[in-house]
Symmetry: C2
Subunit: 475 residues, 2 copies
């Protein structure tokens, strides 16, 4: 059994081939467009209807699974170089055109989300998921080549001190009548892990422990947010990539993040040419149906090259605030959230203004106010900013958030006390500062945001196989 | 900053180097053994104590973080080819010998488990986790090279029909006073996902949906079992690899599984030579302390070559039962579970007898009784066996479990009905048989079992960074 990708790229003319896949279309009782998932392209299989009985031909419907055997010949028709002259044909599974939902016509994305087990049989989703797979391999390949170790952070966590968002509780207690302690509260001491546990929101803190021994590590695993956000940018379950490096300061961290994203995008530009060309065309068609003002102005591949072909602009938060404050949209009150003063948290509209209008290149903002950032970020000598950095991309805004970590035990303890974070919860995290502490840094990148960027898909639910969102855990 | 691995392998003599890491030992107030995690080997850094003040030298303790600068020269001492003549030395973080737990002496594995954030600073755990990382990359590399797509199965699942084991509930309901429905039960309609949800035990069913469009896919993600098993072979949270292939029958599935395991083991033999040599020696030392009867008889690398250098023996379940029934230990009543009749489930003792004594090579057992296997396995024409296969390895028993899947809608429906599995729960899984069904197969491999096999570690808690087991979700 040969896959269509290799038949199209390397099988010699006149060779006998055997190929299995699913019917995309069947034209003129003669031309089967067969797809096996190995490539976007279909293999044209030509049946001479005189050689096959009527009953067999009637079963060749969109979605049916077949194996065909025959001779590879030069195609007489347009649209393909080669085709198979079919000598044998076996039907494994039918797809009744009356009931099969994935017919060769345009389906709405909403409809396809309800058919998430079948939507992968469309060109769009197959292309997106092949690019997703290639991006994931590009990530592993990049880090491996650069001396990082892959680190599996725990998914179930007993700590709730990270503060990155609302968490899902994990339990085996009887949900109706949980055991209670003396004060009448749920007795989590009776639970599976002997304490209250949640799904992780980030593997960073544990990755720090490993970086402080192996030097350079990265996580790539699922993380969770129990936030009731029904938007096209949020998932309750998503995959995150979190590199963490000992002896890296914020500058080295920014260098790495920039190089990493550029290299991973280059990887898919190289390995997914055909799927990206299809998705580029798809986005172009979609954009045409939008009002002029809402169009992005850049094609998909153009946007990818925008990221790979120029250095990212590095700007301090303070500089960015000045730029925004004096910007036209701010003065003309076009921002939903006007920028008045230093200390404001930036919204997506501000990030997009900086990237798309002002600098017209990817932007790294750094040295944010301590107040709006997490407890573990390294305090600058000014006492009010921290060594945080966010990378902003066209179209999607923030794609990476990172920082140099606070390596000084006393400063970290003071910060935790201010924020009411219990030292007992994070005794082991403080140990990393007690014993052999050093400058270290890392960042996090939401994998689905990266897939959205690389595929041009507007809704994050369409770049993960089976999305989990409020009120939805089907499949 | 250069990493020690590249200094030892490629830096020219007399070059100036700058290297950061942690002190493993400091001998004679002169010789620092510095490790940065990039390799098992330490870099010897020689300080001339006349150039450094007493106070600085006193801070060079095991575990302290340093950066040294100096000249790379040929080493005069034994044990290393090169060393650094230190000209500058900067101490980033101290490690007080009175309180730092990881001193250069033998620690018990139990003690190190309690210090899971620091145990990675020992040679053994650093070697294990580097091999773990390499194995993971070997897995991705193998599947990518062979035309598979990486598929992220959902972690939170609304289905409890898979029946692979006890599950963890995922919820955001108030645990003390959950909302109730009219009949007084917990109203999961009010929960985050609008229904009761659990952590997945397997991504197989979802992977089947993707295989039936992309052809060949694999999962590599965390899976969960809420089983109260406090053994050296079980974790509540572990990583699983599950390939799934359309148009593969059981024979093709066995061919793939065998080739996959051999190639992944070859990958680490090639890329982790130094760490494996260390772990081989470690296992040898450990074995020496055991009574003769309990020793494995094979060294670590010998065991890896045992798997890569010979074809796996394929035996039907029925043949295996005959062999076991007539075996010496069975006749002499040495098995804890004697083998009397066809239909018995095989225990670890039987699996090890077949691999280690009878065949003396890895064994694939196939065609198991339907009664002892899962509902989705393809029924053979004999009506009593299914196209299941297990791969058995020396030392650890079952490492892979797989099957050809039941592709016939009516047979699958009948089986589900017999077992009381609600069709409504798995409507989408049945759809895969309704539309374009075909022969397909897959298998699952517990990643930590593979890491145990490749590293020779006796306890599964020592091959995952932060193990989750009953009563334990620390860190």
């Amino acid at each position: 059994m040969t896959r269509i990708r290799s038949i199209l790229s390397e099988a010699p003319l006149l060779s006998e081939v055997s190929v299995s896949g699913w019917v995309r279309t069947f034209r003129s009782n003669r031309f089967i467009a067969l797809n096996d998932g190995s490539t976007l392209e279909n293999l044209q299989c030509v049946v001479d209807f005189e050689n096959f009985d009527e009953a067999t031909l009637r079963r060749i419907n969109t979605g049916a699974a077949l194996t065909v055997r025959g001779t590879l010949v030069e195609s007489q028709g347009r649209g393909q170089k080669v085709e198979v002259q079919v000598s044998q044909l076996e039907i494994h599974g039918d797809a009744d055109p009356e009931s099969y939902p994935i017919q060769p016509k345009k389906h709405s994305m909403e409809f396809l989300r309800e058919q998430a087990h079948l939507r992968i049989r469309t060109n769009t989703f197959a292309a997106v998921m092949r690019v997703r797979s290639a991006l994931a391999f590009g990530v592993h390949e990049y880090f491996t080549r650069n001396g990082f170790y892959y680190f599996h952070a725990p998914i179930i966590t007993g700590s709730d001190a990270e503060g990155a968002g609302e968490m899902f509780r994990v339990s085996t207690l009887d949900p109706l009548t949980p055991p209670r302690d003396e004060s009448g509260n749920v007795d989590f001491g009776e639970d599976f892990f002997g304490k209250e546990t949640n799904l992780t929101v980030s593997g960073q803190l544990e990755a720090e422990a490993y970086a402080m021994a192996l030097g350079k590590v990265y996580t790539f695993g699922p993380t969770f947010r129990a936030e009731n956000s029904n938007t096209s940018r949020h998932l309750a379950e998503f995959w995150m990539i979190e590199p963490e490096m000992a002896f890296y300061d914020l500058d080295a961290n920014m260098d790495l993040a920039e190089d990493f994203i550029q290299e991973v995008i280059r990887y898919v530009l190289k390995h997914c040419e055909e799927d990206l060309a299809f998705l580029d065309k798809r986005l172009e068609d979609e954009e045409k149906r939008k009002p002029q003002a809402e169009r992005s102005g850049m094609g998909l591949i153009e946007k990818l090259r925008f990221v790979t072909d120029q250095p990212f602009k590095r700007v301090t938060y303070t500089e960015a605030i000045e730029i925004l404050r004096n910007s036209k949209p701010n003065k003309k009150k076009k921002f939903q959230y006007p920028i008045d003063a230093w200390g404001a948290d930036l919204q997506s509209e501000h990030e997009r203004y900086l990237v798309e209008k002002h600098f017209q290149c990817p932007v790294i903002l750094f040295n944010y106010p301590a107040e709006i950032k997490a407890f573990y970020m390294r305090l600058n000598d000014d006492g009010k900013t921290v060594r945080a950095m966010d990378i902003l991309f066209p179209g999607i805004g923030e794609i990476v958030g990172g920082s140099q970590r606070e390596e000084r035990l006393d400063v970290l303890q003071e910060k935790m006390q201010q924020l009411g974070i219990d030292e007992k919860e994070l005794w082991w995290y403080l140990d990393l500062r007690r014993f052999g502490t050093a400058v270290h840094s890392g960042f996090g990148l939401g994998f689905e945001r990266l897939v959205q960027f690389a595929t041009g898909m507007g809704n994050i639910r369409d770049v993960i196989p089976f999305p989990r969102t409020p009120q939805n855990a089907e499949f």
